[in-house]
């Protein structure tokens, strides 16, 4: 008698019809977008703030470096003593005072520049000032040695190394960025999916225990059928939720951007801004084109197939463990001690993925972790865009499947015994004993 479809159906519909599930499905994207909009709005406010910086240049070298920009204007003070200048700036409530002390030797100037202000100045303001001054001082030193400005300009060179594999596949930095984005998104998606829906499975097992229906159910079906039905039903509910999130999130994103006229995509951190600037040097249009080419260069078929297999394999592996934990305990507070051993390999996988795969996708660490079944789904998904030989993918998947079967067997044992155990919080030793019942 195969009751699996029946159980899956029940698990799916109870989840999907659950009020808090519905609320979460429709509210989370709203909350996320609202947060996004608030942050975007606030940072825009911040950027719009006007600052005035006074400059007291006793050397006279740097006076014409400071041109007013959109948000910052500079006042050049002349012939004031430092003390008086500070008083004046305080009175005017300027952002701060930049003082360049009088030094005859050009080499010494850089050591005698100081910024005075009421509060600690923002990092971006200081680094902006530093960049300007450095550029000017460099030029002056070169001029002193007899190099003209025109020569300096002419000497500037921009290098962009073209990459090509032995088999003739061309790639670029843009390729790598796209690959990282793909791999990172896939790995992170799996990580999130496991945590959210693994927990949901665990709670639903605990619910069956606390409502004491479990004994009625397993007098009709095999515990492993119930467990698999639960895992599959909950996953389907999860996929449904994810799809709704993606659609809703996309629509809302566009809508909010339209209504509030905030260019959400333009929200950038300092670092991204710098990266964008360096991109701009070689021509923005060309870069965008490169991204599209990089997209097309991705091994799409391989990616999609591998994504499906590793995603499903990894998810089933972890969710069966979550189900076993749910069966072993009576209530959610008791789950903590068993959660750690599950979360550790998962977090490790993400760390390895983020730090090692980016650095060297085919290095020893990345390769090894892409074979260990508990980390392989995340790490391998991150590596695949960079091109992993099919035999490696196959071997890793085989290991994953073998481990998955072993884990399900192990989880089913604990599940079978655990669902009928009430009252006490089991220890690891007891769990081990259950395997032999």
């Amino acid at each position: 008698m195969n009751h699996l479809p029946l159980i899956i159906k029940r698990e799916y519909f109870t989840k999907v019809k659950n009020k808090s599930f519905i609320v979460m499905t429709f509210l989370s994207p709203l909350i996320m977008i609202a947060l996004f909009a608030v942050v975007a709005y606030l940072s825009q406010l911040n950027n719009d703030k006007q600052r005035t910086i006074s400059v007291l240049d006793d050397t006279g070298y740097l006076t014409n470096v400071f041109e007013n920009t959109e948000n910052t204007s500079y006042t050049i003070l002349n012939g004031l003593k430092l003390k008086d200048a500070i008083e004046l700036v305080k009175e005017k409530e300027d952002y701060g005072l930049l003082h360049i002390a009088k030094i005859d030797d050009l080499d010494g100037v850089s050591d005698h520049i100081r910024f005075y202000s009421e509060e600690t100045p923002s990092l971006s303001v200081i680094s902006g000032l530093e960049q300007r001054i450095e550029k000017r001082l460099n030029e002056m030193k070169l001029e002193k040695d007899g190099v003209t400005l025109a020569q300096i300009e002419a000497a500037k060179t921009n290098v962009d190394i073209a990459q090509e594999s032995y088999t003739g596949e061309k790639s670029s930095k843009a390729d790598n960025v796209v690959k990282l984005m793909f791999g990172g998104a896939a790995g992170y998606l799996l990580f999130m999916f496991i945590i959210i829906y693994g927990n949901m499975i665990m709670r639903s097992v605990i619910e069956e225990k606390t409502s004491r229906i479990i004994e009625v159910i397993i007098s009709s079906v095999k515990p492993i059928q119930l467990m698999m039905g639960k895992i599959i039903g909950t996953s389907l509910a999860g996929v449904t939720q994810f799809i709704i999130w993606a659609i809703l999130g996309g629509v809302l994103m566009v809508l909010v951007g339209f209504i509030f006229n905030i260019d959400i995509l333009a929200m950038q951190t300092q670092q991204q801004e710098m990266a964008m600037q360096s991109l701009q040097n070689s021509g923005m249009d060309q870069k965008v084109g490169e991204f599209f080419i990089a997209f097309q260069n991705l091994p799409m078929t391989n990616l999609i197939i591998a994504f499906l297999f590793f995603f499903i394999g990894g998810y089933l592996l972890y969710s069966s463990l979550y189900a076993a934990i749910g069966a072993a305990v009576d209530n959610e507070t008791d789950t903590q001690q068993f959660m750690l051993p599950i979360l550790m390999p998962l977090v490790l996988a993400v760390y390895v993925g983020v730090f090692t795969v980016i650095e060297d996708p085919h290095g020893v660490v990345s390769t090894v972790f892409s074979f260990i079944p508990f980390t392989s789904p995340v790490v391998m998904l991150m590596r695949i865009p960079f091109g992993v030989p099919i035999w490696q993918q196959g071997l890793s998947l085989l290991l994953l499947i073998i481990t998955f079967i072993a884990t399900v067997w192990f989880a089913a044992k604990i599940y079978r015994v655990g669902i009928l155990m009430y009252g006490k919080k089991p220890t690891y030793k007891e769990l081990f004993k259950w395997l032999k019942y």
Partner: protein, 308 residues
């Protein structure tokens, strides 16, 4: 084969703890079989083995002459002591789900549920959630779900707990009715008066071993001590008592009776018939009360457990 269920030398251990030790029972077709025993004796383990929830370490179980196999879950209806339903699921949906798990088709389940819901007058609960029902009401639903697929063997573990006397009676009548219709019932309880009332066979499990089994009447015959309750009216009661005491072994009696002057338990020797006692008594006084003392299920239970 007259036995619907036979357990043959079943043993089960959990780690070092032996929950069942070579327990054999035979449940005759059409009987109500009382499975008795103190808490923790191993009854639930045996019931779970019959339901194939746990596998025995040793021994075999036969249902209708066949070794127990997964398909047999359709032939068994089980109401566990630790029972409950999905709290946030609607009554109707839930009953359909559980019935389908027992192998009924959806339409058939619907039809039978309608019959039962009408019979128990609970039709308007269909769209309620379990958490909106009282405990007793949920128990009723649970009972319906247990019997819905018309199993050959019904196993009830403390079926009356949580019911008020009216509903307990209702359920009792339903159980008797199901037996009339051909079902065999295994009945596990600590309420000895229901054992007395319902069971025709019993088995007593104590400390993982079966210590007693058979027809309830046979067991009672075994356990009876040839003792008779005697109630007399006599003008000179003290003298009558002394005379009886000289002739027979007399124990104090506690039965309830209207206006008897003399109340005694008289134990007869093997070779003395009740008629001898009666004619002795009628010669001395007016006999108002003369009953053989039959040990109750409760007496047998306590005595057996103490002796073991």
């Amino acid at each position: 084969m007259n036995d619907l269920l036979v357990a043959d030398a079943v043993s089960k251990s959990f780690g070092n703890f032996k929950a069942l030790n070579q327990v054999s029972i035979a449940v005759p077709k059409g009987s109500i079989f009382g499975l008795l025993g103190p808490n923790g004796a191993g009854k639930t383990t045996l019931i779970r083995i019959i339901n194939q929830i746990t596998m025995p370490d040793e021994g075999r179980v036969f249902l209708d002459g066949q070794p127990l196999k997964p398909e047999h879950v359709r032939d068994i209806g089980y109401l566990p002591e630790e029972r409950g339903l999905y709290k946030s699921m609607k009554v109707g949906e839930q009953c359909l789900y559980l019935a389908q798990l027992k192998g009924l088709s959806k339409s058939e389940a619907k039809q039978r549920l309608k019959y039962w819901f009408d019979k128990l007058e609970i039709g308007d609960w269909w769209n309620k959630k379990i958490q909106e029902l009282s405990k007793g009401q949920a128990q009723k639903i649970q009972f319906v779900v247990t019997v819905l697929h018309q199993p050959k063997l019904l196993i009830f573990d403390e079926p009356f707990s949580g019911f008020d006397p009216i509903n307990a009676n209702l359920i009792k009548d339903e159980i008797l009715q199901l037996r009339e219709e051909g079902a065999t019932v295994i009945f596990s309880t600590h309420r000895m008066e229901s054992v007395e009332e319902l069971c025709d066979h019993i088995a007593l499990i104590h400390k993982s071993n079966k210590v007693l089994d058979g027809k309830l009447n046979d067991i009672k015959r075994q356990y009876k001590t040839n003792t008779f309750e005697v109630g007399l009216q006599a003008s000179n009661s003290d003298r009558v008592i002394t005379e009886i005491k000289n002739q027979f072994e007399v124990l104090p009696a506690t039965f309830k009776n209207l206006n008897d002057d003399v109340k005694l338990n008289v134990k007869l020797k093997e070779d003395v018939s009740p008629n001898d006692l009666l004619s002795f008594l009628t010669a001395k006084a007016e006999v108002h009360h003369f009953v053989e003392v039959i040990p109750s299920a409760s007496d047998i239970f306590i005595q057996t457990v103490k002796n073991n």
